[in-house]
Symmetry: C2
Subunit: 327 residues, 2 copies
Amino acid sequence: MGNGAREEILRLFRRGGDLVSGEELSRILGISRTAVWKQIRLLREQGYVIEAVPSRGYRLTSTPDLLLPAEIRAGLDTQIIGREIVYLAEADSTNLRASLLGEAGSVEGTVVIADQQSAGKGRLGRRWSSPPGVNLYTSVLLRPPISPRSAPQLTFLSAVATAWAIEETSGLEPQVKWPNDILLGGKKVAGLLNEMSAETDRVHFVVLGIGVNLNMQAGQFPQDLRYPATSLTLETGRPISRLRFARSLLHHLEGLYRVYLEKGFTPILLAWKNLFDLAGRQVEVDLQKRRLSGVAIGIDEDGALLVRLVDGSTERVLAGDVTPADS
Amino acid sequence: MGNGAREEILRLFRRGGDLVSGEELSRILGISRTAVWKQIRLLREQGYVIEAVPSRGYRLTSTPDLLLPAEIRAGLDTQIIGREIVYLAEADSTNLRASLLGEAGSVEGTVVIADQQSAGKGRLGRRWSSPPGVNLYTSVLLRPPISPRSAPQLTFLSAVATAWAIEETSGLEPQVKWPNDILLGGKKVAGLLNEMSAETDRVHFVVLGIGVNLNMQAGQFPQDLRYPATSLTLETGRPISRLRFARSLLHHLEGLYRVYLEKGFTPILLAWKNLFDLAGRQVEVDLQKRRLSGVAIGIDEDGALLVRLVDGSTERVLAGDVTPADS
């Protein structure tokens, strides 16, 4: 008993109809009335509002904005992504948890979600600020039949899915910043960190790490951010349902992943290019060992950024930090 | 107490001199005479032959060919490789154990050695036959500051180190088979399986998995091998010390890794090319989705195999199974 019984109780509440009696719950679940009552109490502790009408039964009147597996699944239409959902009240890093699940053989489509992260990871060992209760921190385990050289393509896939989920839940128009960020009006609203486990010839698994600032308030951002940041609530002036956002994201990830498996990278890259607004702009690229200045002229078929330098030559950038010089 | 006390006792035996008294051991280790006696008994159970001369003390007369960390370290001259050595009497797969240690933050140079593997891994999910007591199954954790695109280079590094250890301990002249095997007279004697954990821009860690058939007898090979296999003992007609081989391998890995960090891939590739005998020969390449026939004309600067096809064009093969057509 435990999670299973509570998921079943929630399912019975949502089946429609009016009230569900304690006796009915007890009979269907095959547990005692006392056990039913304990599960109801635990659901209330998780934030569910469950009304008790004396001698008639229980009614679910409000669901918390918790990212619980049962809640996410309730409105989810995917077959691969979310087949398993692991919710953690606190994680060191969802990417790390998903990697360990990957090593242990968890199925493709396993989703790890944490309410907060104590060691949220950004690119290149940077931190991702991860306070509790407000945002989405999730990592999706995939096992695509690709070589390690193709794995960077999946960053474009998760960028498009995240941008589409932002559009769908906020009505805003996000841009993608090559290669790993999603911006609203030039400010970072989401970050992506894809990691893989691979041998030379093939990928064992990829973890798509996605962090989205949903309801973060101005005072919650770290002081020392490299780039200006924002959240969906700051941009729209209203709260964003984490549950609705999570479902939208998993839905778009599934659709895009199916396209990728069937048609390859080209359609993903086309969708991504529609969200890319650096083309034609003057940029600075930090390559860790050196810096480049030039005009971003586009993206090639591998997803590398093409930068035209002052001398007229074109540099192909596979990894780096890009900033518009006019921002 | 435990491993530490036993390592210390072995160190005292080896310090030179003749006999070490139980009283001296008790005093130096700060444990009771009874405790000393227990440790001596455990050492004997591990295969150490320890002679007791009444009222004078103990003498170590023979060391088992066990791949115990203390034994390997006793004759090892490395600074990075083998900084930590984890010995497992039985592992599912040393690569899996090393990957989990990598995720958990273990230091660069950590070496995992198993006496046997229940799920020894070959390339592409194949099995690596791993009976107890006879061979070497090891995985080395490295954290090189490279991008995932460069990671396949480390397969060439472990191939050279393994070939050199074979030369040094057996006097035989191994060849490397592109990209992952070491052969003696056309038969497979060692296999390499490198795995990595990475994000788009950088490698978190690489695991160099190395399996070498040292003392395996003809009857111990699986029936359904894809390629003919052999062992050092079958080729030389004499037993091979696993300990000596392990030390030699770790020594060469260290030397080559230092060269790689300082000078890059070129010197590694040059050393590898000296061990490569397919150049100029007719080969068949199985690319999983299709097959190629042609003449192996060499290796390019990335380590890709160059194959000249009948139509005169050259195909660059990044991953695949190569077989000489004349074998």
